[in-house]
Amino acid sequence: MEWEVVIGLETHAQLATHSKIFSGASTAFGAAPNAQACAVDLALPGVLPVLNRAAVEHAIRFGLAVGGEVAARSVFARKNYFYPDLPKGYQISQFEIPVVSGGRIFIERDGVETAIRLTRAHLEEDAGKSLHEDFHGLSGIDLNRAGTPLLEIVSEPDMRSAAEAVAYARILHRLVTWIGICDGNMQEGSFRCDANVSVRPKGQQAFGTRCEIKNLNSFRFMEKAIEYEIQRQIEWIESGGTVVQETRLYDPDRDETRPMRSKEDAQDYRYFPDPDLLPLCIDTPWIDRVRESLPELPEAMRGRFVTDFGLSPYDAGVLTASYDLAQYFLALMADVAGEAKLCANWVSGELAAALHRDGLEVRQSRISPAQLGGLLRRIQDGTVSGKMAKEIFDALWNDGGDADTIIASKGLQQISDVSALEKIVEELMAAHPDQVAEYRSGKEKVFGFFVGRAMKASGGRANPAQLNAILKARLAG
């Protein structure tokens, strides 16, 4: 039987605010345990939550960026359950009325832009952490993370393969980092996905029974976990089994998903509106102000790179892979006017390779757009050849400085002086009369021999175009 895969994703994006969603404590990562948990985070008797305005702004940014509807009035609810790292015994979340409804994320399916619909995005607080090691049979509780603002983004079950799920997650990741609402750090848990996976016979309308996979903390694991889960479900059904709705945990060490809890164990969270918080009211002027502060979105920028700069859709896509990369490119373009292709090649070529090699993010680049621009201008005006430029790039990367100084100190200027080049060519022809004769008898392959020798004689600095022209003219006799 042919099977169709159905996947929906729930993503928790940690919002990049300075303080927590309902308290003034810092959200910085990595502090000593419980050093960033104030009275409100500890849920001392009598404390009350106060909503962080910045977290709401981030949610509005997201709603606008995905073309969703920002609710004029949304409600915070309490999700009640007991767990040691949940200090109040309830999580403040949004249940019936979320801050954002609808919206779309576009992925590519068979070369065509395809919309993945979003169900909703709502604000909620994170829990703390339970630490089960190092406490000799006891558990440690760290509440630094308790109260960190999260935006839970829920997609419709619109994805049809693990690859599509990963493509969606990557584009969502790019978007939330692009609009500055999330730092996107998956290792630190700033961007976490759960996948709802089911399969159905191709052509069937009704969905199969789904399983939710948790703990997908990298794109690679997400793809492997979903692939595993798809195979597990298909094999189980084909061998006569029935999929039961359950939550499964992905174990990357064994590359498998394992049951965590079944639907029967599902808790009754007893949601009800939090009486400590008023309904969240967002008026149109606020939404308008946020809209004005939104940067150009990646898809629009990509389109503009194609139409305005004449870049290929592929190049434009590479350059808009992240906000920082696009900003780097734009800064470079401002520095080296009118050389979009040259800039694009260097950013997606040498720069990307160097960053990747050293494991750096764009914002950690050892060469600034101004430094790279200085180099590209020397390519542009013919001072250095492309080959030389790569050498200079390495020098800039390793030792800093600026291209002009390096060119001057290392004597790397291209020889474009016609008389100097003519002299080299004349000497070469005088030294190799046999090859000259061969060329003139029609063996034009010998031309390459002269180019190589002339380059060598110039120390690699000969302007290739000029050299070619002079050689052609002289050899022709």
């Binding site: 001392l44 008797p45 404390v47 106060v50 007991f82 015994g89 309830y90 009754d268 009800f272 009486p275």
Partner: protein
């Protein structure tokens, strides 16, 4: 100075005139507490050292000429308010070892004013009760008759003021917990409009109903204390930001033309004859002061008790989840695993009334019952709000009995929770609507026990309510009567 018949205003004047020092005043009250409270049980905690240190600071402030109206005045606080360095128990074994590391907004306001913390008063456990019999720290007894209840949940505060163990005390009111004990103890008590007193640091019972307030002998004293207690607090999202108001500003305004609304539902049976007589006499007094009676209707009054006993337990079941034995509070000494730790800690730490309300609240929020109970109750709550809105188009103030009877006997209703709940019938709807309510002494009934007259005003009409109460207290002396125990 005879503390049994000196008002808070007189104490403040004596302090300003340097006729008495704050230290002397504090010592005198602490002496009274030491002498008289063993038979009452009104206080859970006193701390002479802390109180006297505050008194010395207040005396220095008075000497420097920077004192405010409450500087140097000892105030007792219901043990629901977190006060830094003080045991803050909420009347529960669960918090029997909880020393608060922070101050409630209310405590901060008194601190800024230079008032002293005289002690922490007893209360029904987590403010759940109408008789002060559910406290882990024992019953509080009614100073007028030690075999009777003082009312609850602010029974400790009310008994302390009735016995003149404190010139005034803070209290909280979720369904009548200020007005009912004030009535049963023969003192004045006000629950302001919801949102006027910050709930930050006030241990939550039912967040949408809880409101801090004050009990004192007279309306005048209530106004003085309210001036300090009310104030916007950004840490409470339901706190209302409005200009500071002097709640004593209107006290002497004449009552001519005042329209008193009398809800049919408050006078149609269910009220004992002695209470009815006292209320009728009070209304005649008001007519002599120039007021007129208007018959009104609050048709959903009967629904207020069931609505309250859905909504308050629902919120409580969630509010009390934080008491899990993990970070602070009672933790069972023996347990096998995490679930067992929760179960034992909460089973040991909470008393039966608290458990009953947690169970009720958990039930009404459960899947399949939420719509029928919680949502339905919210709908009725809106009807009750509308009843009051309509009523205030016809009258300026609503009056009626604060309670159906005078103080009942200790143990009389503790085995029948429904009977106990019904004793809050006249006070609960005010919380559901978020309106201000006041109870003032209006004579005595059966057994020489005090009767309370309830005044309900429109939103933010506290100053007017205090005025209406004050004019009555100018022509009567019920509020100045003290139980025999207090004059000892």
């Amino acid at each position: 100075m005879n503390l049994a018949n000196t008002s808070l205003r007189q104490l403040a004047q004596a302090l300003q005139a340097r006729q008495v020092s704050s230290r002397e005043l504090a010592q005198a009250y602490l002496e009274r507490i030491a002498r008289l409270d063993s038979g009452l049980g009104a206080f859970i905690t006193t701390d002479h050292e802390r109180t006297l240190a505050q008194a010395d600071a207040a005396d220095a402030r008075i000497a420097s000429g920077t004192a405010g109206p409450l500087t140097g005045i000892p105030i007792a606080h219901k043990d629901i308010f977190c006060a830094q360095g003080w045991l803050t128990t909420c009347g529960s074994k669960m918090l029997s070892s909880f020393v608060s590391p922070y101050d409630a907004h209310v405590i901060e306001q008194f601190e800024v004013a230079g008032a002293l913390i005289l002690g922490k008063t007893n209360m029904d456990e987590f403010a759940m009760g109408s008789s002060n019999e559910t406290s882990f720290y024992g019953q509080v007894k009614n100073p007028w008759d030690l075999t009777r209840v003082p009312g609850g949940s602010s029974g400790g505060s009310a008994a302390a003021v009735a016995a003149r163990l404190a010139p005034a005390a803070t209290a909280t009111d979720t369904g009548g917990s200020i007005r009912q004990p004030a009535a049963l103890c023969g003192i004045s008590g006000i629950k302001p409009t919801y949102g006027l007193v910050s709930r930050y640091g006030m241990i939550a019972y039912a967040s949408s109903l809880d409101q801090g307030g004050v009990v004192a002998p007279s309306a005048d004293d209530l106004g003085l204390v309210l001036n300090t207690m009310v104030g916007f607090d950004a840490r409470d999202s339901t706190s209302i930001e409005r200009p500071r108001e002097d709640y004593t500003a209107l006290l002497d305004q004449p009552l001519k033309g005042l329209r008193i609304g009398l809800p049919r539902e408050f006078f149609s049976g269910g009220v004992s004859a002695d209470v009815e007589r006292a209320i009728e006499a009070a209304l005649q007094e008001y007519e002599r002061l120039g007021a007129t009676r208007v018959e009104i209707s609050l048709p959903n009054t009967a629904l207020s008790v069931p609505v309250y006993y859905v909504l308050a337990p629902a919120e409580a079941s969630s509010n009390l989840s934080r008491f899990d034995g993990v970070r602070y509070g009672w933790r069972a000494s023996r347990y096998t695993d995490l679930a067992d730790m929760y179960e034992r800690s909460r089973a040991e730490g909470f008393g039966p009334e608290v458990k009953r309300r947690i169970l009720t609240g958990t039930y009404v929020l459960s899947r399949g019952y939420y719509d029928a109970y919680y949502l339905q109750a919210q709908r009725v709550r809106r009807l009750i709000v509308n009843d009051f809105k309509h009523a205030f188009t016809q009258c300026d103030v609503i009056m009626g009995p604060s309670t159906p009877t005078v103080a009942f006997g200790l143990g009389e209703k503790s085995s029948d929770p429904i009977q106990m709940y019904l004793s809050d019938i006249f006070t609960i709807s005010v919380n559901l609507a978020g309106l201000p309510g006041l109870s003032i002494p209006a004579g005595f009934g059966e057994g020489g026990l005090p009767v309370g007259l309830q005044l309900i005003g429109d939103y933010f009409s506290e100053a007017r309510l205090l005025n209406v109460a004050h004019r009555y207290q100018q022509v009567t002396d019920w509020h100045a009567r003290v139980p025999a125990l207090a004059s000892a």
